[in-house]
């Protein structure tokens, strides 16, 4: 039976691991290699590593860093940050990534999704979409500090048609708050999106994680809970297992 995945998300600023709150306030948490190694010993299902500042530096997440990490990490690895070309996809896949995630470049050049899917296969194209609720509670697309006009569900359908293999959704409102995920967002995603979905944002406790995993999502991205508390990915999976959710122990 296909297991639901519990996925630590690691954000870096090019050099150090950072943790954001509502996509703005940042805390510095040290070397990416050290953080990854900790997860390596914990038998995690998968890791997502994103360089949040790569686009701003007009660069891509470092293939050398990805190569270094994948030499020691035998778990599936999704990486992203400033990837905006097929050459970028190729360099990161060669360096050891299994899947590449794109966010800003998907808006700027949606055809990249299609071309990457045709060259590398759709299973390695993850489109990352950040969502925020407007004043009226309506879901909006969020990119580089701005709310975008395009309809969320039209964008997600477009991305699907272009050839994305998986969607990574991050809730800006819940990010870094440990105050619980956006459950109505999770439910709406499960209903309207037919691709595998990874949801991330706000998981603050074992019970948050279990409730989120009970919905029809493929994976749950967790960051603050693992970085600022003693809860481990294994704790989350055991709790999920005890609540009859199919996870890999």
């Amino acid at each position: 039976m296909l297991r639901k995945r519990v996925i630590p998300l690691i954000a870096i600023d090019g050099f150090s691991v950072i943790k954001t709150e509502n996509f703005s306030v940042r805390r510095n948490l040290g070397s990416p290699v050290t953080v990854v190694n900790t997860y390596n010993t914990r038998n995690v299902d998968e890791l997502i590593l994103i360089d949040l500042d790569a686009s701003k530096r007009a660069q891509m997440i470092s293939p050398a860093l990805v190569k270094h990490i994948s030499k020691h990490c035998f778990m599936p690895l999704t990486v992203g940050g400033g990837v905006n070309s097929l050459e970028g996809f190729e360099a990161l896949l060669t360096a050891g990534a299994d899947k590449i995630t794109i966010n800003k470049s998907a808006y700027e050049n949606p055809d990249l999704i299609r071309k990457a899917a045709m060259k590398f296969g759709k299973q390695c194209v993850v489109v990352s979409v950040d969502l925020i609720r407007g004043i009226d509670g309506q879901l909006k697309l969020y990119s580089q500090g701005e709310i975008l006009e395009e309809d969320v569900w039209e964008w997600l359908e477009n991305v699907h048609q272009l050839g994305a293999g998986e969607i990574l959704i991050q809730s800006v409102d819940c990010d870094g708050t440990l105050a619980g995920p956006d459950f109505s967002l999770i439910k709406e995603l499960a209903e309207k999106v037919s691709l595998p979905i990874i949801y991330s944002g706000g998981i603050g406790s074992l019970s948050d994680a279990v409730s989120a995993l009970k919905e029809d999502i493929s994976g749950l991205g967790i960051t603050s809970l693992f970085q600022f508390s003693k809860v481990t990915p294994s704790d989350v999976k055991h709790e999920a297992w005890n609540n009859n959710i199919a996870v890999r122990l």
Partner: protein
């Protein structure tokens, strides 16, 4: 020595890392038409798009090298796209409705999972377990072992009694592995499946490549 086929963008790095950790001597083969002397086994890893991969293999004469290995009864291990490339045809093509020819070494065809499995959230991404397997290298498998799958197309076997298949443990199950004469195909990534996966790679080398002499 184990030959690892490298046709360009097929992520040989992860496989090489795993072989290194297991202490299995290996060499990268980037072009054919012949394999070097002394090769006891071949791994065809694969990440990517079927048509792109076939064009790459053929342009580097690696298709000839792989076919030669099969003729010489050297054991072959196809991983993910690699196990699909060994089949006869695939619908993962750049043209709508067109079929691409594979290496034709295994009686099977590759098709988009969504064409057959309508309740499936495709691509098939994540950890899944398999039904009990009567395939040589799975003899050391423990119950509950899960493997990492990441693919959008599946292998559909022909009705050939020489082709043994193992399926995932799901209502809409898909082929997780096959064995055909001296060819093993794994749909999942053993090099990413931690202990159960590494055990399979080791068994391929020790039981099929070394003991077959």
């Amino acid at each position: 020595m184990l030959a690892v086929i490298d046709f360009g963008s097929n992520n040989t790095g992860s496989v090489l890392n795993a072989l290194k950790a297991l202490g299995i001597p290996n060499t990268l083969i980037k072009s054919g038409p012949e394999l070097p002397v002394g090769i006891k086994g071949v791994i065809l890893p694969g990440v990517g798009h079927f048509q792109a991969a076939m064009e790459s293999l053929i342009s580097k004469q690696l298709d000839i090298a792989i076919k030669g290995a099969v003729e010489s009864e050297i054991p072959i291990l196809g991983i993910c796209l690699g196990m699909q490339l060994l089949a006869k045809t695939s619908d993962e093509s750049w043209e709508e409705q067109a079929m691409v020819k594979g290496l034709g070494l295994v009686p099977a065809h590759v098709r988009d999972i969504k064409a057959r499995c309508h309740n499936f959230r495709a691509p098939h991404m994540g950890w899944n377990d398999i039904a009990v397997a009567d395939i040589s290298i799975f003899k050391g498998q423990k119950e509950g072992d899960a493997y990492y799958f990441v693919h959008s197309h599946e292998v559909l076997p022909e009705d050939d009694p020489r082709l043994l298949t193992v399926r995932t443990n799901d209502e809409e199950s898909i082929v997780a592995a096959y064995e055909y004469q001296n060819i093993i195909g794994l749909q999942f990534h053993p090099e990413k499946s931690q202990e159960p996966g590494l055990r399979l790679l080791k068994d391929f080398w020790v039981k099929l490549c070394c003991e077959s002499e």
